[in-house]
Amino acid sequence: MTAQAVVDYLAAQQRLEPELPAPDLPWLVELRDGGVERLRVAGFPSLRDEDWRYTNVQSLLKKPFEMGSIGQCDVDAAFVSRTAIPSLECHRVVVVNGIPIPHLSDATLVPDGIRVSSLADLLVSDPGRLEPYLGKNLVPDPHGFTAMNSAFLGNGLVVEIAPGQVFDKPLEIIFVASAATESTMAQPRNLVVAGKGSRLQVLARYVAIGAQETLTNVVTEVIVDADAHLTLYQLQEESKNSFHIGGLFAKLRRGSRFDAFAITLAGGLVRNDLRVDLDGAGAEVNLRGLYLARGRQHIDNHTQIFHNEPGCISHEHYKGVLDDRARAVFHGRIVVQPDAQKTVSEQSNQNLLLSRDAEIDTKPQLEIYADDVKCAHGATVGQLDKEALFYLRSRGIAEETAKRLLIKAFANDVLLAVSPDSLRDHLLTRVEMMLAD
């Protein structure tokens, strides 16, 4: 199955290659060829790979996904306003099947100091702006899916924040997976470059439309330059017909800060790879994750934090609630390199299992090669607190309501750090809605 999928996708890539933007740009060709080669040699991951032991992608590889276009796309202004978060003041960009849609975006309203561009356009018009960054965060491609993304590299979104610019309003990017008539895939490659001392919040939302199955194989590269502070909310709200393979690769320079939220509320099969390299002294990363799964959903969060320089801080806090036959994986690897003295690192993964058939495989992994460090990690798996449940019921609160209240209380503390309030309220409401039906 894996081998056939590799052959099929490589053939599709070959057919498509001449139409990809800037087909003659040498460094870009090299990047694409590197992806092709890596996919050819390594193939797609299987349960035999240590990093994929608990996540079976056979069901995804069996399906023939066609590269998505915006030809018969049913995303319109009404869809956007339906999808928009009530009372969230933001700058909005809409991307359908990996392709930015100018007329649905208010990119013209984006203030000076933030440049939002289509990757395909920029590769043609000003590739010099991309060359120092593109592909640099993931050498080599960690697995077949990122390799495939590199092989098809062409579409996606580029966000550049000018040095010293500070913004209060978040930038919202809505990634729509649209599959009206056939199983459709998108392979967006996004790049976010936060200039020195800049500050911005980016909200990346993944939603789906259409009756067919979708595959979003997205790679996002992030560079946070010295003393910049970037916040990235990743919110997965696709459908149960959605496959989502997401890679986020961030490099942090001296004194910078990166706050990343991975919130998974939907999706049939979701795999998030997140790698953060703390490449400058005093950099700080805060990772927070929340996954809610039911039915036969499968959610895999695979995170790696590399402390490469001294005096860096990492906090990682992931929580999950699993019901029915849902399954989740958490693998949190933290590497403290020999030079990374005075590292402070803290990691936790807490899980609430609501059914006997739900399963979590959690694996914290600390590798410390420096001696002057402060590191702590822990994982818990538990059920609802029976004492708390009885306490609430003894006050007249119905059992189901009491359960929901306790689950919400468990999940919500991940969301408390979200701002602005309208975004936090939206997320709290979404969690509540999920628990209610």
Binding site: E387, F390, Y391, S394, R395, G396, A398, E399, L405, L406
Partner: protein, 257 residues
């Protein structure tokens, strides 16, 4: 109001209550005293509907209801309130949220509309004063990080908000210093009225100096061994439980023979 008849309860196959009979009329305050392990808390928990207690025999009638057939939340909505011996910490749920839900659950059950925000806040302020609690308690997570005394006061505060018909106080006095005990007692006394019954479960006579019961019952080894008025509590204070426990043991021997 409450009638317990020949109640036998086991926990994990072990008999704890071995045939309890008790009638509490509306407006009465009953105190159940007894040494550790006598079954006092078991009785309180069985009445509130906690899991893990197997009723082997007997019945509990509350008003027109077979109390044991009701779920814990149904009992609460019918006016049964348990002040916990160990109030549970619930991080992530604020006190004010819990109380609002609790009060509105009662009101809805009685066919009344929910309290509006202003009336609710007025009532909250009034009841907070009763137990000398600051308003900031409302916005803290339920019992989370509260001191022992704050937890117990919070129980009485909730009771005052909910206004139950049958209040069961399970060792509400344990772990309280004398000042906190007085506050809790005056909170309870303020709630005494003709249509409200109160069942105090306590190890020590101390609480009964401040809340004067109409009846006192001594529980030992799962049975009531003596009942009387408030003077019985004094006697226990002087002589301890030893003499009554012996009586219970020999009594058990006689009835078995």
């Amino acid at each position: 109001m409450l009638s317990i008849s020949d109640l036998m309860v086991e926990v994990g196959g072990k008999p704890i209550l071995k045939g309890i009979n008790l009638d509490i009329a509306a407006g009465e305050v009953h105190a159940i005293m007894g040494p550790n392990g006598s079954g006092k808390s078991t009785l309180a928990n069985v009445l509130a509907g906690r899991e893990g207690y197997d009723v082997m025999r007997g019945s509990v009638t509350y008003g027109d209801h077979d109390l044991l057939a009701l779920a814990p939340e149904e009992r609460a909505r019918e006016g049964v309130f348990l002040a916990f011996q160990y109030p549970v910490e619930i991080p992530g749920v604020t006190n004010v949220y819990l109380i609002k839900e609790a009060v509105n659950a009662q009101r809805k059950h009685r066919g009344e509309s929910e309290l509006d925000a202003i009336d609710f806040l007025k009532l909250v302020r009034q009841k907070l004063q009763l137990v000398e609690m600051k308003e900031e308690f409302l916005h803290r997570p339920v019992n989370h990080g509260f001191s022992g005394g704050e937890k117990k006061r919070n129980e009485i505060f909730q009771m005052a908000m909910i206004e139950p018909r049958l209040a069961i106080l399970d060792e509400t006095d344990s772990g309280l210093d004398i000042d906190a005990l007085k506050v809790v007692a005056s909170g309870v006394n303020a709630m005494r009225q003709g249509d409200r019954s109160i069942l105090l479960v306590t190890h020590y006579q101390r609480l009964l100096d401040y809340i004067e019961p109409d009846h006192v019952h001594v529980l030992a080894n799962g049975r009531f061994v003596k009942s009387g008025d408030k003077h019985l509590a004094r006697e226990l204070e002087e002589h301890g439980y030893g003499w009554l426990e012996e009586q219970a043991d020999s009594g058990a021997g006689q009835s078995a023979a």
